[in-house]
């Protein structure tokens, strides 16, 4: 167990380099796709089949999107005949593709950290290398981040607006429709029109975690380390500055199904965003009407507190389509 600075990470994997991503897809995603497909077929009816099917679909999507940006990708892998060996290899490869594990884990980690990120955190704190227009342009093009279509823009004309704009992948769950107001607020996650390479990798990571939770027959395989737990333990925890009762629980093991398009999230203490004002409220009747302010802060502080845990995945944020409501989730296993 060691650490890597974001700067070292980006320079090692060179995300602006198409060949770099192609190697990742061919050596990591393709074998997992074949193994997961085989396990899903061979153990149909078992819990392992469901998670393997999801992972196989995610890997297929990564592969399809990769072809658009990376050109031809070699799809060759010989699946072991022995079904139990398939299980073993699947778990081993999933472990070694997980965030920050081995060489492949560096690619998933990089893509994962760009799920939802403010511009100031991205360029000032995390990857200043991406200030370089050419590198940024290529990286964003490959991963599918659109600077002209951010996930969130503060509804205030201010010099801070640009900094607090959130970039990310439209196809990884973040933008929602409000379905219920009042004591509880329910958000349903909106689907994206087009899959992005980055968003597909992030969903692929959720699939890896689902397989690494080893349901059903997969429990017969023991990895040498619990990489998911180690990762979460080492990640910055949720910010204590934000109201403790405003956090929902997101179980990473099942998030492949629960944090997906059209799934609903119900929470009793949402955050209301009004210009730069951010309030954790007890009851929310509309974007502008609330009762019982539990905490009041500003957008700058809110996002700066949130960012370290958000980019690593310990925290997750869901936003209403008008950017006026936010739900915070704490990821755990």
């Amino acid at each position: 167990m060691s650490t890597i600075s974001p700067d070292e990470l980006i320079n090692e994997i060179q995300p602006w380099n198409v060949d770099s991503w192609r190697n990742f897809v061919e050596n990591c995603v393709v074998p997992i796709k074949f193994l997961a497909e085989t396990v899903a077929k061979q153990f149909a009816g078992d819990a392992s089949s469901e998670v393997s099917r999801f992972l196989a679909d995610c890997a297929t999507r990564v592969l399809e999107v990769a072809r658009k940006f990376l050109g031809e990708v070699k799809v060759k892998f010989e699946v072991p005949v022995d079904p139990i060996e398939c299980l073993r290899q699947l778990v081993e490869r999933c472990g070694n593709a997980f965030l920050g594990v081995g060489e492949n884990g560096k690619y998933t980690l990089f893509a994962w950290t760009l799920r939802k990120i403010t511009k100031e955190y991205l360029f000032e704190a995390l990857y200043p290398t991406l200030k370089n227009e050419e590198k940024r342009g290529k990286t964003f093009e490959i991963l599918g981040i659109k600077e002209d279509l951010p996930l969130f823009v503060p509804a205030v004309k201010s010099p801070l607006t640009e900094n607090l704009t959130i970039l990310g992948y439209p196809d990884y769950p973040s933008i929602c429709r409000v379905e219920e107001w009042g004591e509880y607020v329910t958000l349903s996650i909106l689907p994206a029109r087009e899959p992005t390479f980055g968003g597909s990798i992030c969903k692929f990571v959720d699939g890896l975690v689902a397989v690494l939770s080893r349901p059903g027959i997969l429990s017969g395989v023991e990895p040498s380390a619990d990489v998911v737990k180690i990762y979460l333990d080492k990640c910055p925890s949720k910010p204590t500055e934000l109201h403790q009762y405003s956090w929902g629980k997101l179980d990473w093991k099942t998030s492949y199904a629960n944090l997906s398009e059209l799934s609903k999230w119900r929470i009793d203490r949402p955050w209301s965003i009004s210009g730069f004002a951010v309030r954790c409220v007890d009851r929310l009747y509309s974007s502008e009407k609330w009762d019982g302010v539990l905490q009041e802060t500003n957008l700058l502080s809110f996002l700066r507190w949130l960012m370290p845990s958000l980019i690593t995945g310990r925290a997750e944020i869901l936003l209403s389509a008008d950017g006026r409501i936010a739900l915070l989730l704490e990821r755990g296993i």
């Binding site: 167990m1 005949v81 884990g105 100031e120 704190a125 279509l149 996930l151 080492k234 502080s301």
Partner: protein, 606 residues
């Protein structure tokens, strides 16, 4: 895009919503701002708020507010920026004015000093004029937009005026209100940007739990069951070859006719050897070989012509003339009541030949194994070499060397993009067969022979003796147990004789050539192991090894692994602490190799 058109666009996806929101934010610039005018009037101020509705209509709200009269904002407590000031209505003591007047009667006729009327005020203050405090509210914005709401005042300390002097002061001058002790300073306190350091981890390895290992064995056994050398070489003809293999264990009362497509790669020799091995399993002896590839077919059919107890190899072209056809037809019909034998026919057209045979035999329906499609040569060779190399323990390089071969005995193939030469198929099979025979001979002439005792049966084959020698050699070398302490053909219980027994390790070894074990030769292996758990045993047994002769092992490989698994489960269920392990001799290294390892090599393609 006009706003109306944008509004008509359905919002379904994340991208739609984000585009719409962005448009709204950007277009907000173009809207006229709210205009606020304040007009001074005598009694109050007039506030006009002029704004434009989203539809473009102009609205005006006029409201009035009295003049604020207090010039200084009284600050009673330090401002708590974390909590808005609480505004309450002031409660001031307001009382009615009291006046009292006493008029004194004039004294007439008496001249007194006239005095002016005297006014006497009450001791207490009866009325205090209302104070006008400034309108200060944190919700000024909403007040401005909508309507004038009741304005809250800062809570004032109760003021009492006890004297006229005090009262006058209260009326005339501003009340002395407490002031804040210090100036208020505001500091910006926002969290600083902190960079993350990401955790990275070394690659992980995975192992299987005991349950999974057991499950793996079961699944693998089930997966490979019924698959041997022939099924691996001809996967598309698997069912036919299962029937063929079954013939050596099932109904053995008839000849089997094998129809092969003509091949320049001498495929027939492989079938010839396989038929020989099946025949040995069934009958326990060698079949008589008859080769009619070139000429003499008609003569043989006329003079001898019985298929049973033989392996006959001929070409379809050899039966062209009417006389040959007549005799061939006759011999085929006679096959309905003969024992096991094999007729291998090579033909250019398998379909026609099969039809011809079927027509010739009528009304008898013979057992025909027809191979209609041959796999690609490179695939066929790759599987054949892999199975034979692993199954006999002969190195790949030894099997495939071509240095000493004539051009006609070699075949060129493209393997992994490179043109390579390999021996013809019959050469490979011959090499394996030769290596096995040499291995048996070598063992039979080794010093370990001195420690071997013959079986009680007089029909013990040289292969069986050689396997007992190999078992003694292996145990001696692996466990460093002296040959003298390794018993051979040893009585370990009531009618239970182990081929080899090692008391020191409580190990019994069974050598299985599978010769003459029909019907169902594989049952013999079940019997060999079950005797240790079903009969009374007088010696300790913790482990049973079953050594299976190489040719039989590769022909029944899948079934053997399945049997091993079944027997393990059976022993576990019967609470016997006995482990069963199947081995195959390694002809090259002269040691024993677990069958699981060989299955892994063969079926994983490694």
């Amino acid at each position: 895009m006009s706003e109306e058109r944008r509004r008509l666009k359905a919002l379904h996806y994340v991208e739609d919503y984000l585009e719409d929101l962005l448009y709204m934010l950007l277009s907000a610039k173009e809207r006229p701002e709210v205009e606020v005018k304040i007009e001074e009037a005598k009694e109050a101020q007039k506030i006009r708020v002029v704004s434009v509705t989203p539809e473009g209509r102009k609205t005006e709200i006029i409201s009035e507010a009295p003049h604020p009269s207090l010039k200084e904002l009284p600050l009673l407590t330090p401002i708590n920026v974390m909590r808005p000031l609480e505004l309450t209505q002031p409660i001031l003591p307001l009382e009615n004015e009291v006046s009292a007047e006493v008029r004194l009667q004039s004294l007439y006729k008496i001249g007194y000093l006239l005095q002016m009327p005297v006014k006497v005020f009450d001791y207490e203050v009866k009325r205090i004029l209302p104070l006008h405090l400034p309108l200060v509210s944190p919700i000024f914005y909403s007040w401005l937009r909508e309507e004038i709401k009741p304005v809250g005042f800062l809570e004032q300390p109760e003021v009492n005026a006890f004297t006229l002097k005090n009262l006058l002061r209260l009326v005339e001058i501003l009340p002395k209100l407490p002031r804040t002790a210090e100036r208020i300073e505001a500091n910006v306190k926002v969290p600083a940007l902190t960079s993350n350091i990401f955790p990275i981890q070394n690659e992980v390895k995975t192992t299987l739990t005991d349950t999974a290992e057991s499950l793996r064995a079961k699944a693998q056994a089930q997966h490979v069951k019924g698959r041997g050398l022939l099924e691996l070489i001809f996967p598309e003809e698997m069912e036919k070859f299962r029937r063929f293999r079954g013939a050596s264990g099932g109904y053995v009362g008839e000849p089997i006719i094998i129809v092969l497509p003509e091949s320049e790669h001498h495929l027939w020799y492989l079938f010839w050897v396989i038929c020989r091995e099946f025949y040995r399993e069934v009958k326990g002896e060698y079949p008589e070989p008859v080769v009619l590839l070139d000429k003499g077919c008609e003569l043989w059919l006329r003079v001898s012509g019985m298929f049973s107890e033989k392996i006959i190899i001929l070409r379809e072209q050899s039966i062209k003339d009417d006389e040959s056809k007549k005799w061939f037809k006759r011999r085929l019909q006679e096959a309905f009541s003969q024992g096991l034998g094999f007729l291998i026919i090579m033909t250019k057209n398998v379909d026609n030949t099969v039809t011809f045979i079927k027509e010739s035999c009528k009304p008898y329906a013979p057992m025909i194994i027809d191979v209609r499609t041959l796999p690609e040569l490179s695939r066929l060779m790759e599987v054949l070499i892999r199975v034979l190399s692993a199954g006999f323990g002969i190195p790949y390089s030894e099997l495939c060397k071509v240095d000493d071969l004539r051009a006609g005995d070699k075949v060129a193939m493209i393997v992994e993009g490179k043109l390579q030469e390999f021996p013809q198929m019959d050469i490979i099979v011959t090499r394996v067969d030769r290596a096995y025979r040499n291995f048996v001979n070598e063992l039979l002439s080794s010093n370990y022979l001195a420690h071997v005792r013959r079986d009680v049966s007089e029909r013990e084959s040289e292969d069986h003796v050689a396997m007992k020698i190999l078992a003694i050699k292996y145990i001696n070398e692996r466990f460093n147990i002296k040959p003298e302490k390794i018993a051979c053909t040893f009585d370990v219980g009531s009618e239970v004789i182990a081929d080899v027994y090692v008391e020191e390790r409580a190990l019994a070894v069974e050598c299985e050539t599978m010769f003459g074990t029909a019907p169902a030769p594989l049952l013999k292996i079940f019997e060999s192991v079950r005797k240790y758990i079903e009969r009374a045993i007088s010696k300790p047994i913790n482990e049973i090894w079953v050594i299976i002769r190489n040719w039989s092992a590769i022909l029944h490989l899948g079934d053997l692994l399945w049997i091993e698994n079944i027997l393990r489960e059976e022993l576990k269920k019967r609470s016997k602490e006995i482990n069963v392990k199947f081995f195959i001799p390694d002809v090259y290294g002269k040691y024993l190799k677990p069958i699981d390892d060989i299955v892994n090599i063969i079926f994983s393609g490694g």
